[in-house]
């Protein structure tokens, strides 16, 4: 299995490949997905998010930008599903303006049995739903 490294930009900002993950205000994990989400990338991303969960006392939300996202593997969708079902997770707001983002969001949300995930066209709409 190909080894994927986590690049620590700061205590709250990380890069996994081209994907950027930022913990904002101890309430939101902002994920800007870039490129294909392979099994390996998904596992490392999940582990990092679980580590970030431990840094936060209360519940946490996901804000996921799929504008530059590539193909999601089945295991990647499974990993996102596990994160959304985690007791620490409150809402998962997915957004993306282009048709590919919408399609991937559809696959990801369709894979989950939880109803705490929604797709939005813009980041603004997504943040508003989280804040609501």
């Amino acid at each position: 299995m190909k080894k994927i490294d986590i690049e620590e930009i700061s205590k709250s900002e990380y890069c996994i490949g081209k994907t950027r993950i930022i913990l904002c205000d101890n309430t939101i994990i902002h994920v800007t997905v870039d490129g294909d989400q392979t099994d390996e990338i998904a596992m490392v991303t999940k582990d990092l998010c679980l580590r970030l969960f431990k840094l936060v006392d209360g519940k946490i939300n996901f804000l996921i930008d799929l504008n530059r996202c590539g193909k999601n593997s089945r295991r990647a969708r499974l990993a996102w599903n596990e994160l959304s079902e985690n007791g620490k997770c409150n809402k998962v707001a997915i957004f993306g303006l282009n048709p590919v983002a919408r399609l991937i969001a559809s696959f990801v949300i369709g894979f989950s049995s939880e109803k705490n995930q929604r797709f939005f066209m813009t980041e603004k709409e997504a943040r508003a739903w989280i804040a609501d």
């Binding site: 504008n67 530059r68 590539g70 193909k71 999601n72 593997s73 089945r74 282009n98 048709p99 590919v100 983002a101 919408r102 399609l103 991937i104 696959f107």
Partner: protein
Amino acid sequence: MDEEQLEQRIELINQAIMSVSRGEYSVQLELSPEHNPIDALAMGINMMIDELRYNFEIGQENIKIKLLNKKLLESQRKAEESDRLKSAFLANMSHEIRTPMNGILGFAELLKNQELSGDQQQKYLRIIEKSGVRMLNIINDIVDISKIESGLMTVEIVQSNINKQIEDLYLFFKPECESKGICLSMKNSLPTIQSVIQTDQEKVYAILTNLIKNAIKYSLKGDIEFGYINKPYELEFFVRDQGIGIPRERQQAIFERFIQADLANRNAFQGAGLGLAISKSYVEMLGGKIWVESKEEIGSTFYFTLPYKTVQNKWATDEDVTLGIAYNDSNSEALGLKILIAEDDESSELLVAIGIEQYGKEILMARNGLEAVEVCRNNPDIDLILMDIQMPVMSGYKATKKIREFNSEVIIIALTACGLSGDREEAIEAGCNDYISKPIKIHDLLVLIDKYFRK
């Protein structure tokens, strides 16, 4: 994107879908950096192809699991069947050993009655003897199957005259067949000069004996024919009877251990159910195969093959391949030997003492190995020691080693009860000149003594 580019991409999507329809799940469509609707369509198709591949692989796994489950169920059924057969075997074995034991103990008790006539005594003795032989057969079968299972059974290839073996067996079984009203016949298809083969003579004898015994046991009337025919590179032996036959569904199973014990009508036929399993093992050890053709109420023919390579150039006469010294009554004149019998069991000691009485001018006794050593030390003129191996205080092998420290001349013959391969080597290594297995046949013992003293 112009119309031509759009057509090309749609064509690529069509081709991908057609590939998937042929079961090619590795196909994937390329996406442009634009992430336009066509890219979304291509991405959707790519991800659906992944799902199809995943489901296909799961399906394949399920098929494998179903097959494994089927095999597991079959193994479980076989294990349960084996367990059941072993239980049946143990129950049958218990019966097979207790019945002759009952005859031996019961009639020995009756023999204590001093008012019995001579005829009655002889009749009871015959029953005891017959029961003893029956029990010995069972013990031999158990020892043989144990040797086979533990890998101790070895093959001893010698020159063997097959025609002579067939004739010997014919003469041996003819009286028994005649007493049952069965006509026994034999068939040899090679001239004597070509009938000498390299094989394990004892095992061939055991296989044929077992098959002929079975033929007699399961025949109430009709004929029994046995012998062999010559085929390219092998001899095909057969034993044909007109007995009760074997149901088709049991024809494979009868070569497995314990099977006879499972027959519903087993009470009608004595035996441990090991004979055919032993025969099959022997045949396979000799490089052949065994099978049966049978019809119920018509009869059975057992076949087995042996590799055939004639050794006629080395063959001269029967005597050349006969080992040992033939014993006859004219040899029984006194040898005037001083003999020590080292034996802890009183009845065995008495049997040997009576048997060799005519050869001894003096017979000494010892009840354990230590006594044997002492007696031997005090009587340096002893000619022969018959040494039981399993004795208290000091074993026969240890006693032999002690005796050899001061007497290398005396002839020592080990009397063993184990009947295992390696007995002979162990006896020789301990310092014995020879060995004989219990139960001891006096005739064989005398032949052995003749070998050393009648030169």
